[in-house]
Amino acid sequence: MFLLEVNPLVLPDIGLVFWNTIAFLVLLIVLGKFAWKPMLKAISERESGIEEALLRADKMKAEIAAMQNENEALLAKAREERAGMIKDAKETADKMVSEAKDKAKQEYDRIISDAQLAITQQKNAALTDVKNQVGSLVVEVAEKILRKELSNKAEQESYIKQIAEGVKLN
């Protein structure tokens, strides 16, 4: 008590306590309603908005990465397919070419053989024809010669005799 009596600094005045209480309550109510509440609400809303946006961005990033992976996989697959297709096409082409070659060769062979056959046939026919003509020519010539030689009777008979002698009756 002595200290309180002595030092006016540690002796609270009722007036200041009274006005201070009023001032504090007014501040608490007015600021609480019109300053702190909207401020804190806006801040927390903004924070949650930022958090959401960040989460969304992360999600998008993951999605984009997944899409990229997918694209790459697709591309690789497409490349593979293309390579396969090219290979197949090459094979088919090669096959077709070789087949064509084979076929051409066969045809060629066939044509050659046909031609040879035809040539042989024609040659034979020609030969036969020549032979026939030569035969008939020979016969004609022989006839003509014979007619001329056998125009007299004596000669005819000598000749027959000659032939007859040639024929042996055994």
Binding site: V6, N7, P8, L9, V10, L11, P12, D13, I14, G15, L16, V17, F18, W19, N20, T21, A23, F24, V26, L27, L28, V30, L31, G32, F34, A35, W36, K37, P38, M39, L40, A42, I43, E45, R46, G49
Partner: protein
């Protein structure tokens, strides 16, 4: 931390000095008062004689509350005096306590009032001398708008103006745009109180309810600390270094803490769990005292820190008058500026500490199942790592 330690040491020394001298001073003052009060003596030209410079009186005069707001020289802003006596309310200007020669005079209202040692007292004439009527003065309630009250109102106006402007910006610009102007200045402080003071001490679940209270306390203390550092009008009042101001806030904290206290808190005070019954009996009164010492420590810490800062600065300036040479200012002024810088830090620090301790007390009062919660957390942590 180092500066705080040094400061508290200085504060201690100075408080001891002021304590030691105060008794002496008041004896002198009383003698002077009776001399002055004597009308015959007051009229004598002795008043023109240069009075001996009294450091303690000067400093205390600057720190104490006043019924008028000193502006410059002999110019003061008179403030309304509101008195409640058994004869009812009385309102008049504090200018009526001064005559045209700036001498303190008696104002005759329902009673004869006079300002004695900065406070309104009822006086009576005994043997042609005015002395304090102690019995009558006890029934006198002084609700005056003193310098501190006026300064408090100024701070309230500043807070309302600044913070309502800042809050309006959120409505105007919405939440998607970055804060601008006052808003961008206030938002980090609000976030600081939320993230560094409220959430760590009260917890994420319950802090929102106490945010307006903590923010209001923080800003009120902060603004008054800063206004106290402004040496001229509208600063210059020592509001946050006044025990009535800190007491009011401490009582508010006390009320909030104890109203929000849960069963767990009271159990820890009156019947400490996990102790032997004799220990429980021993601890209960200590814990009960703790309930009151917490707000009292809040009250004294802020009061002492701010008052000490003001005393320091004033003491340094008073050096000039003690040595009676202007050259003393070569040392006194740089030191006063240096201490002023520290005071800026202290102004913020004390607002922070007051709010943080309030939040801590609220956190302690609302904490649930202390031991189990810890155990649970421990298990969780183990599971996590």
């Amino acid at each position: 931390m180092a500066s705080r330690t040094i400061k508290s040491l200085l504060v201690l020394c100075l408080s001891l000095f002021s304590m030691a001298f105060s008794g002496n001073v008041f004896a002198n003052e009383k003698a002077a008062q009776t001399e002055h009060s004597n009308p015959a003596a007051a009229n004598e030209p002795a008043a023109h004689e240069p009075e001996a410079f009294n450091v303690t009186e000067t400093i205390l005069d600057h720190i104490k509350d006043d019924h008028s707001w000193h502006l410059w020289g002999h110019t003061s802003l008179p403030l309304p005096v509101i008195l409640y006596t058994p004869k009812g309310f009385e309102v008049f200007s504090s200018a009526k306590f001064m005559d045209e020669h700036h001498e303190e005079i008696v104002y005759k209202g329902n009673y004869d009032y006079k300002i004695i040692e900065g406070k309104v007292k009822i006086v009576k004439l005994v043997d042609a001398t005015e002395v304090v009527d102690v019995e009558a003065s006890k029934a006198l309630w002084d609700f005056s708008i003193t310098k501190n009250v006026a300064s408090l109102f100024v701070s309230v106006l500043i807070l309302l103006l600044v913070l309502l402007t800042a809050a309006r910006a959120y409505k105007k610009t919405g939440i998607t745009s970055a804060p601008k102007g006052v808003q961008s200045f206030m938002e980090p402080i609000v976030l600081f109180v939320r993230d560094e003071v409220a959430i760590p001490n009260i917890g994420k679940k319950k802090f929102a309810k106490y945010m307006p209270f903590l923010l209001t306390i923080f800003f009120l203390v902060l603004v008054n600390n800063f206004l106290g550092l402004v040496p001229f009008f509208p600063g210059g009042a020592n509001v946050s270094g006044n025990i009535a101001f800190t007491m009011t806030l401490a009582v508010c904290v006390f009320v909030v803490v104890n109203l929000s206290a849960n069963k767990n808190y009271w159990e820890h005070i009156f019947w400490m769990p996990g102790m032997h019954w004799s220990m429980k009996l021993f601890l209960a009164p200590i814990e009960l005292i703790g309930v009151f010492t917490k707000p009292i420590s809040l009250m004294i810490r802020l009061f002492a820190n701010i008052t000490a800062g003001h005393i320091l600065v004033l003491s340094l300036i008073c050096l000039i008058f003690i040595f009676k040479t202007v050259y003393a200012s070569a040392i006194a002024v740089p030191f006063a500026v240096f201490i002023g810088m520290i005071e800026l830090l202290v102004a913020f620090l004390q607002a922070y500490i007051f709010t943080m301790l309030s939040a801590m007390y609220i956190g302690m009062a609302t904490e649930e199942h202390h031991h189990e919660a810890h155990d649970h957390d421990g298990h969780k942590n183990v599971a996590h790592h």
